[in-house]
Amino acid sequence: MSNSTSVQFNIQVGDDLTHNVKPLLNEIKHGLDNLIETGRTTIIDLRSLPLAPGEEEKILNTLGQGEVQAQLNALGLSEVTETQYAGVWIVTHYNDEQHIISRFIEVTTMPEILCSQTEDVMEAYSRLTLDLADNP
């Protein structure tokens, strides 16, 4: 988290303090296996785990950067990036003050939030229809 980096304790990240880093990475591996076998999506909420300062960064560094980076403007910024492991995505939601409000690891071919939503498509259709009617 950007605003917490200024206050850091002398804790060695390599210590794997909470012992949550390895199991989480294994869960992601398991998720990929699931995606290949059944096509099912796995979503992991990073906030649901107790992580020591630096451990989240360690997870993100391990996963690295892949080919896709997308930005959404929906009630504040959201970032959707594919990691160096295809099918493993990091979805980070920010609020208007650029604070992270939630962060998920999604193991899927396409995070749901990137897809156009049926309701929005329907609304778009009627709006375009109206616009065309107004300006023939």
Binding site: I11, D45, P53, E55, L72, L75, H93, N95, E97
Partner: protein
């Protein structure tokens, strides 16, 4: 509400189609909030309520068809810290949406109206939404003398009982409302009691903390909105999703406790290395709250990460645990003094008892008649 069990607390079916009656989906669309934004909101909500991400579609569906409930917020013997906590929840759009989801009809600190107008607003909300509104209470209620705390000339007790009557459910916010809190601390000069001490016939959700974590307050509201029921509670009325695990069990410094590595003072090597704060009085082992995972100030940090032991503020009587810096294994009373007095008293008693025994022995010896040859010859 479509997708709910028969017995939900949030039944707005009878409300007429004005003002507070729109479904949340309608409210959002009328505000130009896209479905994608709504999904983002639901994802954040699921995360906030500590729910599995698999619940996101369910939350979305329930919220879209839910209606805004009327909320009456009563503040009694309190410091407004709980309201401060809540209003600083997150100032940005996404959480403020939550406030679009409820109709806060009475909150004497936040509302614009004052005096008679304010009380009228409360009475009107109670009348219009009888049996359906949510009652939120922060602060404890003085029972020694009703004059210790009044609002518009009405004693806290009277106002609570009157307003609770028509409530669908009550959310007690903060340790004062849930367990008496600081006003209830020994010697409890005002005779402060909690909401649960007075009301037995309504569902009460306790959201303790001094103050409670903002997203926990909103999380409970969201749960109520999403499912129309009260969340699963623990044995002292706290939602298990947030209070199900102790600070100690979720603490990232726990491995140091297990290894026996402790900070001895606030500025020693151990403190700098981020070792366990047990010896500095940490109440994490006996405190159930979500600080370790939810954290504070937009997830920036939390007391233990900032180097301070947990005070145990979400537990009853946290003020009377013998001091914040006394570790849990230490006695709360001055045992040294007790021991010294006991030694003195017991030494005197022992000497007296010993003397009595000795006396008994010597008188027994004295009373003992020796048998002589003369006696035998008799």
């Amino acid at each position: 509400m479509t997708n709910n069990k028969d017995k939900t607390l949030l039944d707005n079916s009878g409300v007429d189609k004005t003002g507070v009656d729109k479904t949340l989906g309608e409210v959002l669309r009328s505000q130009g909030v896209s479905r994608r934004s709504f999904l983002k909101f639901c994802a954040a909500t699921a995360s906030m309520m500590a729910m599995s991400p698999a619940m996101i579609p369910k939350i979305a569906h329930a919220l879209e068809s839910a209606r805004r409930p009327s909320v009456i917020w009563l503040s009694f013997q309190e410091c407004t810290g709980c309201t401060e906590s809540l209003t600083r929840a997150h100032t940005a759009t996404i959480e403020s949406l939550i406030f679009d989801f409820i109709s806060l009809d009475y909150h004497h600190t936040l509302q614009a109206a004052a005096g008679h107008a304010a009380e009228e607003a409360r009475e009107a909300a109670m009348k219009e939404n009888d049996g359906k509104y949510l009652l939120v209470v922060d602060g404890s209620i003085p029972m020694d003398n009703p004059g210790y705390s009044t609002i518009a000339g009405i004693s806290n007790y009277d106002m609570l009982m009157e307003t609770a009557k028509g409530a669908a459910a009550i959310i007690a916010v903060g340790t004062c409302a849930t367990y008496g809190g600081i006003p209830h601390a020994d010697p409890n000069p005002t005779g402060a009691v909690s909401v649960g001490d007075l009301i037995k016939d309504k569902p009460i959700i306790n959201v303790p903390g001094c103050p409670p974590i903002p997203v926990v307050i909103t999380g409970v509201l969201m749960h109520f909105l999403t499912f129309g029921t009260i969340p699963e509670l623990d044995h002292i009325g706290r939602p298990k999703v947030f209070y199900g695990q102790s600070i100690h069990d979720r603490c990232y410094r726990r491995p140091f406790y297990d290894k026996g590595l402790f900070a001895e003072t606030f500025d020693d090597e151990g403190a700098k290395k981020g070792w366990c704060l047990y010896k500095l009085g940490c109440k994490g082992p006996t405190t159930y709250n979500a600080c370790a995972t939810t954290k504070w100030n937009d997830g920036t940090s939390w007391p233990i990460e900032a180097g301070h032991p947990c005070l145990g503020c979400s537990e009853p009587d946290f003020w009377d645990g013998g001091g914040f810096y006394k570790s849990l294994s230490m006695p709360t009373e001055n045992i040294t003094q007790t021991a010294i007095y006991t030694v003195a008293g017991a030494a005197a008693a022992g000497v007296a008892l010993g003397a009595m025994n000795k006396n008994k022995k010597s008188s027994a010896v004295a009373a003992h008649n020796k048998t002589t040859i003369d006696d035998l010859e008799k």
